[in-house]
């Protein structure tokens, strides 16, 4: 029972990381209708920048958060302005390929600058263990789960009630119609990239607080795909839920079935889910006319 609970808990923690990444995917997909294959790499570069920021003496956790997040936002805006906006109106394939190209460029650049050796990230939250009954959690793990919960609620409210959120939904539905209704599509695209890299920043920080920083962190972006697919690419909250499910499923597969199944359990799961529900669990079915 204890074994099961521990697997479940660490699954939820890893799942919350996947969830944050999946929210990053869904954010861009929801607003612009394209998949951002570079989320993992954006997370990677932010994590490395935050590593340098954390070297500042007595910056503290709040200080780190308050510097990293704005940096992430600016980075998102810059990427959108330089690489994504000029592709507006091009076929979807080219636009997605731009993000793939971007992903490779960012990953290589980061490795060229910071090297491949793992770096010991400082522990601004301390090394103490927080106990809940039988469960023991590190502060970084709690941060990850809490960040997912808070962002999830904020996003649900944002999409339902705020003007920008509703404008984003309209843009994703039909770019041209949204433009004709007076929505500034360019701003929407910029905001979605800003938010997406903010989620990536939270995921990157949470990763650094739990593990040491190494180039493999960008793999997490690919591992986040099953989560966003499971939740439906266009559902931000669904992505968070999908992340938790995939995290738990991976850990259970690794714990009970064993032999490296942990790495691919998520991918197997989505191939099965997609056969039954082609638009994910929470995705909207697209109806197409000739």
């Amino acid at each position: 029972m204890n074994y099961f609970l521990n697997l479940l808990m660490s699954g939820l923690v890893i799942g919350s990381l996947y969830g944050l990444i999946a929210m990053g995917f869904a954010m861009v997909y929801r607003a612009t209708g394209m998949v951002n294959f570079a989320v993992g790499e954006v997370m990677m570069i932010i994590a490395y920048i935050s590593f340098n920021l954390a070297q500042i003496p007595s910056i503290g956790f709040v200080g780190l958060l308050c510097t990293t997040i704005p940096v992430a936002m600016v980075l998102g805006l810059v990427i959108e302005r330089i690489f994504i906006r000029p592709m507006l109106g091009e076929p979807m394939f080219s636009r997605v390929m731009v993000t793939i190209g971007l992903a490779v460029v960012i990953r290589s650049t980061v490795i060229l600058i910071w090297g491949v050796e793992p770096k010991a990230y400082p522990r601004p939250l301390g090394d103490g263990i927080v106990r809940f009954g039988e469960l023991a959690l590190y502060p970084g793990q709690i941060f990850s789960v809490v960040a997912l919960g808070v962002l999830c609620v904020l996003m649900a409210v944002f999409f339902r009630y705020s003007r920008i959120g509703i404008a984003m939904r309209a843009t994703s539905n039909n770019e041209t119609t949204a433009l004709l209704m007076g929505i500034n599509v360019k701003h929407i695209s910029a905001i979605s990239w800003l938010l997406s890299s903010t989620f990536a920043a939270f995921a990157g920080l949470a990763f650094c607080l739990m593990f040491s920083l190494e180039p493999d962190i960008s793999q997490l972006g690919l591992r986040g795909f099953p989560a966003s697919i499971l939740g439906g690419l266009d559902s931000v909250v669904g992505g968070a839920f999908g992340g938790l499910v995939i995290g738990v499923a991976e850990n259970m597969a690794g714990g009970y079935l064993g032999r490296g199944l942990k790495e691919i359990a998520g991918f197997v799961l989505i191939v099965v889910v997609l056969m039954v529900k082609p638009y994910g669990l929470f995705g909207q079915r697209e109806i197409e006319r000739v």
Partner: protein
Amino acid sequence: MRTRTYQTNYAELVTLTPHRSTWVWTMAGITAVACLPLFLGSHGLNIMSTIFVMAIGILGLNLLTGVAGQISLGHAGFLLIGAYAQAILTTDYHFPTWLAIFLSGVIAAIASLVVGVPSLRLKGLYLAITTLAFTFIVRHLVLFGEGLTRGSEGMAVEPLKLFGYVIKSDFPFFYVALAMLLLFVVLTLNIMRTRIGRAWLAVRDHDIAARAMGISLMRYKLLAFMVSAFYTGVAGSLVALQTRYINVDTFSILISIEALAMIIVGGMGRIHGALLGTALILFLPELLNFGFALTGSRFTTLMADRIYEIKGLMYGVVILLFLRLEPEGLAGIWRKIKRFWVQWPLSQ
């Protein structure tokens, strides 16, 4: 004026080439390439063979992505299956090596049904991610199916035997690879002018409209996946025969991205584009090497240490540049140059 822009009957529409002179040029080109080994060292021969082998796989990816419009990030997986099929069939089951090449293609084609079947329900990006998942799953199966694949140790591959000759060195392999490439180019040209090729184009342009015109989406999408995987499987088995030792790490996810870079650089859906793109992308590291050698030793050591990252950076930049500046790729540039000279005094 010799443009042949307008085709007036069906026979003209399906001819292999509208101009007689094309045959002459093609033969001259093939002869020139066949004479290359006289001038190249073993390093150059190796690169040329790699280009020919990769080009077969890229032709396959181009059929699927450029012609039939289905994005695939899973071709590293098919290449892996082809290579391992070649190794296992020849060492463990003692198949003749030349037969194993084609059987590897068939095995990859059968495996492609795993992705092909979901593709009937998935579109665009969902499909891209499923194919990505496929690569991960294949790599995992190879790593952990130790009884069959020797796991992470990798496998040594028997050299190719043809008509009693054992092909071990670069020189004969160059001609084998060239012959295989020509075979597949002719095959592709012929697929493209049949009902199948035109049905794929229709599926790419609008699948629902294609279905309304009597094209069975199920049959043609699955066929596209299988044909594409067959090409890539054959390419994989040739890679195995060329390097004579295979390992999961040879077929990383970067290969899929490299392959997409090749078809984008070449120009989507064009056969000569696929060939040009493959050649350019595979030549780039050599050019870079050459450039670094000129700048001095500091860059050469950097190049040696970080070759993987520098290559990645290069592919990324090339993808970004071509998408921004010349979406039609090298095939588009070629077409523009040709049109300029064909219409010469009147060209703009």
